[in-house]
Symmetry: C2
C-alpha cells in the first residue's frame, strides 16, 4: 500500500510432511518477520509436495511475480530431497557437484565420514552461490532471485542472517498492535471508518481467546511512521471514547 519502494517475496514450503499435517510450518513466520525487518513484504506462501514437476512449475511461476523467492526443505541427503535438482531444471542450468560446497563439506566431516549421502548435499546448480550454514555444515544456495534453505527450523534460523547484506529491501514495515477486551462486532463499524480515513495504513482485526476470555488484536501496518502514528492516535481516541480496556500494546 504505502511502500514507496515496494519489495516483495514469495515463500515455497517444499514438504509432504506439512501437507500431511504431521509438521506445523513455522519457517514462514521466521522468514516473514525477518523479511519485514529488512523491508521485504511476503505476498504469498505455497506449500507443495516433493514432486519435481510441481517444484519446477511453482518456482517458475512465482519467481516472475515477486522480487525474491525463498524455498524451504528438500536439500538434505535422502531420496526425497529433490529441491536442488528441481531448481536446476527450473532454470535450465547444470546440476552437479558444486566445488565450493564439496570443499566445505569435506572439511566439515572427519576423514572417512564424508560418505555418499553427505556428498549428495554438495550437488546443486553448479553455478549457484552458497548460503553458509553455521549449524550443520551443509550450505543452502541461491540462483538469481531464488534462495534455497533447509526445512529444519533451527538450521534455517541460523542461516538467514548471512543474507542481510545480499538482499536489497525497501522501507521496513512498521507495526503497532493494540489488544482489546472486546469483540469484533462491537468495534467493526468504527474500525472501518478509521481504515477509510487512513488508506496508507493496513488495519487488521484478529479475534482471540486467551485464558478463557475473548479479545481482539488490532494491527496497524505501514512503512510510513507518521501515517502509522496518526492512525494509532485515531484508534486510541476511539478506544477511550468507548471505554474499551486495552490489554496490551506492542
Amino acid at each position: 500500500m504505502t511502500n514507496k519502494k515496494e519489495i516483495t517475496a514469495g515463500i515455497i514450503i517444499i514438504g509432504n510432511e506439512v501437507l500431511s499435517g504431521r509438521t506445523k510450518d513455522i519457517n514462514t513466520s521466521t522468514l516473514a518477520k525477518w523479511l519485514n525487518s529488512i523491508g521485504i513484504e511476503v505476498r504469498e506462501v505455497r506449500v507443495i509436495p516433493d514432486i519435481q514437476s510441481t517444484i519446477i512449475f511453482t518456482v517458475n511461476d512465482l519467481r516472475k511475480k515477486f522480487n525474491y523467492i525463498f524455498t524451504t526443505g528438500g536439500i538434505g541427503p535422502t531420496h526425497d530431497d529433490i529441491t536442488a535438482e528441481s531448481i536446476s531444471k527450473a532454470f535450465g542450468i547444470e546440476y552437479g557437484i558444486h566445488k565450493e560446497a564439496y570443499s566445505i563439506l569435506e572439511k566439515y566431516y572427519k576423514p572417512g565420514e564424508f560418505n555418499d549421502g553427505r556428498q549428495k548435499m554438495s550437488k546443486m546448480p553448479t553455478k549457484a552461490k552458497l548460503i553458509l550454514n553455521p549449524t550443520s555444515g551443509a550450505p543452502g544456495f541461491y540462483v538469481e532471485n531464488v534462495f534455497c534453505l533447509p526445512g529444519v527450523p533451527s538450521i534455517l534460523q541460523s542461516m538467514i542472517g548471512g543474507l542481510n547484506n545480499i538482499l536489497i529491501g525497501g522501507d521496513p514495515i512498521l507495526s503497532i498492535t493494540v489488544s482489546l477486551r472486546t469483540v469484533e462486532s462491537e468495534i467493526a463499524k468504527s474500525i472501518t471508518s478509521i481504515q477509510n480515513k487512513n488508506k496508507d495504513v493496513e488495519i487488521g482485526s484478529y479475534p482471540f481467546f486467551k485464558a478463557g476470555k475473548l479479545g481482539v488484536s488490532i494491527v496497524l501496518r505501514s512503512s510510513d511512521k507518521n501515517k502509522l502514528n496518526i492512525c494509532n492516535l485515531e484508534l486510541l481516541e476511539f478506544i477511550k471514547s468507548k471505554d474499551i480496556k486495552i490489554i496490551e500494546t506492542i
Copy 2:
C-alpha cells in the same frame, strides 16, 4: 501414488496476519490430519493476503485442480473480512443476506445485540449451504466444492466434524512413523533402495533435534495396508541389521 480412488484437496489460508509472520498457521495441520482420516489428500496450500482479486484468482485456480477446496479466515464482522464477498464474485453468484444464516444469528444473540457487525456475518453467497458453528454461532458456508471456514483455530476445529457426512473421501491414508537415533546421511542409501522396491508407499525422511540429540523420523504412507506393512518390515530389517536404535514407533 497407491490410492485407487484418489480424492484431493487444496487449502487457501486467507490472512495478512500469517504473511506478516505474526500468526503461525495451525489450521493446515488440523485440516490435513482430519482430511487424511477420511481419505482426502491435501496437495497444495496457499497463504494469500486479504485482497479481493487475489482471493478470486486463487479460488478459481485451485477449485478446478482439486476435488475440494477449504478456505480459512476472513468471514468475521470487520472490514478486512472479505472472503464471503470474494467467493460470490469467484462463482459469479449473488452476494447478500443469507436467510438461514440471518435466522441462526438472530436467535444466537440477545435482543438488541444483533448489531450491524453481526448482521454482516449473515452476508455471503445467497445460495450457499451453511456449515454450522457450535462454538460461536456464525456459520461457515460452501458453494460447490469450496468450503469456507473461520480462521480462529478452536472455532474451525469445532466445525469440521459437521462435514464428515458431506465430503466423499477415498481410501484413508495410513501411516507408520519410526523415529531413529541416527542421521540422514547414514541411512540415505538404504532408504532409497527400500523406496525403489516399494513404489506404492511414500517414504519421507525428516531429521530432528530433540533434547539436544539428533534423530531421523522415517514416515511411511500408503492407502494400501498390506503394502505399507511389507515396506515397514523391510525397514525394520534394515534397522536391525545396522543396529540402529528405535526411539519411537507411531
